[in-house]
């Protein structure tokens, strides 16, 4: 195992009966990075995590986490990691503080050490004022912070967070992600799954899962460059019809459609920018032309990736 890697997965697969939930997945996660794992419902995100933390045995392939092989040394893995499961698991009938103490105890902390860590974590997660509150009476966002706190009480070098912000309001999600970034700055490796593509922008690298396969893995910027090669330009102005026809005839312009009072262009960003488009339009009689460049989002990446996945699937099904 490369010492700069926290997690290494090599051709990892898991089947349930005849159903292949995770299909030949390989990747590594570097120490201290925030690694996002994205995919639709049932894509195999939780199954991957469960294999990585020693809860599920891989059907084939191997993985090591914090230097421990997940199949042969799951106990070593468990002691080194923190885990926040998707279907959570705080004890709602207990006070905040007792939840922390319980999970600390479960990792073998006790006495003064436990008390000190619990206090630190209450401070870190901003829950000090709620320490005596019954967990079930707190809003979802606060509970998720507590769950994260419970998962890092024993100072694991890696935390696995399975959809930690599902069903939480945007403000609470932002404060949750501040916590995640604090952890990562402190040197903790974060492996996080999510449905929210805006959150994925916070990750250093992202893996995209479609139907059990890892179809893309890179930094957000690189993913956008490779998966959304076109740039979308929004044009406003008057007398644009002739100019649109002229643009369509030029190389590097993939589409130029009327859009409200203006135009919607898809172009090759290497050949075209806003100024070049305006020059062409004004030469064809356009007036008051303004061009706005729409940066691609991970949403666009995801749609492209899923589209590609569907095409590949269709091709496979047609092939003998």
């Amino acid at each position: 195992m490369n010492p700069a890697h926290s997690i290494e997965a090599e051709r990892l697969s898991r089947r349930f009966g005849s159903f292949l939930a995770v299909d030949d997945v390989s990747f590594h996660v570097e120490k201290g990075e925030i690694f996002g794992y994205l995919g639709a419902n049932g894509a195999g995100k939780s199954t991957t995590i469960r294999m990585l933390i020693g809860l599920l045995t891989p059907s084939s392939g191997r993985a090591s986490v914090a230097g421990h092989d997940v199949a042969s040394d799951p106990e070593g893995v468990k002691a080194a990691i923190g885990y926040m499961s998707q279907k959570f698991s705080l004890y709602l009938d207990l006070p905040v503080e007792e939840n922390l103490r319980f999970f600390g105890g479960a990792y073998g902390l006790w006495g003064k050490d436990l008390q000190r860590r619990a206090d630190e974590v209450l401070e870190l997660t901003g829950l000090a004022e709620h320490r005596k509150a019954i967990t079930g009476a707190l809003p979802g966002g606060i509970r998720q912070r507590l769950a994260l706190g419970s998962a890092v009480l024993h100072r694991p070098s890696i935390v696995f967070l399975d959809e930690p912000t599902a069903g939480v309001d945007p403000e609470a999600r932002r404060s949750f992600w501040r916590l995640i970034r604090d952890l990562s700055r402190g040197g903790t490796t974060v492996f996080v799954t999510t449905h929210y593509l805006d959150e994925a922008e916070y990750c250093r690298r992202i893996g995209l899962m479609v139907d059990g396969r890892l179809v893309a893995l890179d930094t957000p910027a690189e993913l956008k460059r490779t998966w959304v090669p076109d740039r979308v330009l929004l044009v406003r102005g008057r007398n644009l019809t002739a100019g649109a026809a002229a643009l369509r005839a030029r190389p590097g312009v993939r589409a130029a459609e009327p859009f409200g009072a203006g135009l919607h262009l898809r172009v090759d960003p290497a050949a075209w920018d806003g100024a070049a488009v305006r020059t062409v339009l004004e030469a064809s009689g356009g007036e008051g032309v303004s061009v706005e460049v729409a940066e691609p989002t991970l949403e666009d990446v995801f749609l492209a990736v899923v589209g590609r996945g569907a095409e590949a699937q269709a091709a496979q099904e047609v092939a003998p």
Binding site: E75, K78, L94, A106
Partner: protein, 380 residues
Amino acid sequence: MTLAGSRAGRFLARVGAIAWKEILHIRRDPRTLLLALAMPVVMLLLFGYGVSFDVDRIRLAVSDQDRTEASRRLAQAFTENHEFDPVGGDDADDADTIFRRHRAQAILVIPRGYEKDLARGGPARAQLLLDAADAVTAGQVLNKADAIALSESRRMASAPGISAAPSLQVKVSSRYNPEARSAVFIVPGLAAYLMAISAVLLTALTVAGEWERGSMEQLFASPVSRLEIVLGKLFPYLVVGLIQLLLVLGVGTNVFDVPILGSPLLVILAGVLFLAGMLGQGLLISVLAKNQLVATQAGSLSSLLPSLLLSGMLVPIDNMPAVLRLISRIVPARYMVDALRQILLKGNGFAQVWPDLLAMLVFAVAIVALATARFKRRIA
């Protein structure tokens, strides 16, 4: 700190964390606790008034000191309708030994000179000694013995050459529970029954609850071992069970004058062994069931029925059909009921009670081991 020291420390920290959390759950849910503690008292008051059940085939030892035709005829009168089953004859002096060893539930003593007294025109006396620790049986035996004695006197009165007066008196004397009161008899049974139900149900629910809540997955992702979970979960309920036992005994002694003739420590020991088995049974159910509804049903069926019907609490084991008698051998409540009756009512000590204790220990170890083995740490 040494490695062993810190390892033991972490083990204790984990077991302690689980036990403490369980205690907090119990404290947060006072209704369940109240139910577990009030139920014994209510049940005891309800059952205290006793119910009567039909008894057949009472094992009868005959101590015939007369050894004449008349004495043999009397013994035969007791056994010919299969209400009493003869077992090997014994000495009356040895009655305590016979009862303690459960060789017979009643002893018919026919004194020397019985035939002569009859021939002289009576009154001829015989004595029936009863093991009345089992009050239901004792009451039945009493009635049956009366009926047999009466019909035997009538038969003799109508026989030629014997005077007309009813000439046979059977004096019945009960051992251990002189008034054959059913509260005294029911308390040990009830203690076992209540402990069985609440121990099985509480543990069955608590583990199934962790599965349902999703927290089991969280626990399995931590270094907590199966044994630590099992021990941490069992400990608080062991304490609840012992409190129940003390409550039942407290009400029994104060309200119904149940004696505690034997050692209270021995009672506690029996209680711990019995509870360990029942808690293990609950754990096994909840390991297999994984949801609270199934766990509740399986838990109540598997604890309530055997401890009510096969423990000897209501129906004496000797009166059961052979198949049920055989099944009752693997019902720990049977050993608990027997141990409690022996200790409380007869004042028996470890020397007599150890087979019961051993049986409960074997059951507890076997079922906790089975539950731990079936307790999969991996999901799916």
